[in-house]
Amino acid sequence: MKRLFLFLFFLNIVLAANAQKYMTKNGYIGFYSHTPMEDIKGDNNQVVGALDISTGEMVFQALIKSFHFDRALMEEHFNENYMESDKFPKSVFKGKISNLKDVDFSKNGIYNVTVEGDLTIHDVTNKISAQGTIEVVSGGINANSKFKVVPEDYKINIPGVVKDKFDKNLEVTVAMKYTPIANK
């Protein structure tokens, strides 16, 4: 059912008149945390992202299981112990560029933006605000952002032994290369 809504949502984007919608299915979201023992780094290159430049609305969807770690054991712990990805397979962000008027989509260049919205991880939704850039390039739009996420805010339990060594803030990196959706 959720999938049907997702399809309808994107179908709506495709069919909308004067479509000013951009999309990617190969977006990147990664996170990073430094611990004295080792660095924790997960990468996901299969993020679906959509951007509506007329309203500034942004949507991201990612599968938790798509995150890749160099160590197989870390990936297993991430999925089974922390994110419980069998129960909560997806992570979603729905939000808006709050200073849309500062971006001139008709002119190539890099614009600073603030994006506000709801981030759902591990079935917990929180309001977040993040600084980022929108880069207007020929034939597309790139969006980049770095912001902090606190696992505790999303009821992700990190066991005591690991907790003390763990930087409470995870640095999340978002990198999207959008292309326009053809007006069919």
């Binding site: 299969q46 299981k65 054991l73």
Partner: protein, 142 residues
């Protein structure tokens, strides 16, 4: 020192060394090498995508975390960053493909849309497309 004490200490030492060795081995364990691994399923991209589209729940429990060998035609090649490459395989649907992420392919020019390809990867589920990670090329045909 009595002999049994020596034997006991030696046994403890062996156990500790074994435990450390297993621990380190687990810690450094690499991902399954999908280029060599025996696939759990051999299937075409069209059939795989259709199974997820028809019934995501059933397909999820059948395929997720399994190694799947997929045959299909390349729809698009997208370099995700300097070390990752995404190859999308065509299906019956215009909206949905099978997206396969490679960790170690850096040269996207070797793969072109329209070519037939067989690859192996671990299934992580379905978003708008069926997603495979940790992929390896099995056969590349013209």
């Amino acid at each position: 020192m009595k002999l049994w004490v020596k034997i006991a200490l030696f046994a403890v030492l062996i156990i500790v060394i074994t435990a450390i060795w297993i621990g380190l081995h687990m810690f450094n364990l690499k991902h399954t090498d999908t280029a060599k691994a025996k696939p759990d399923f051999v299937i075409t991209a069209t059939v795989l995508q259709k199974e997820f589209e028809d019934n995501e729940g059933t397909a999820s429990s059948k395929y997720i975390n399994k190694i799947i060998e997929v045959n299909g035609t390349i729809a698009s090649v997208t370099p995700a960053d300097s070390t990752h490459l995404n190859i999308a395989l065509k299906t019956r649907s215009d909206m949905s493909t099978v997206i396969c992420t490679f960790q170690n392919i850096t040269d996207p020019s070797k793969y072109k849309s329209g070519e037939e390809i067989t690859l192996r990867g671990e299934c992580s589920g379905f978003l708008m497309d069926v997603l495979l990670k940790n992929c390896a090329i099995v056969v590349k045909r013209k």
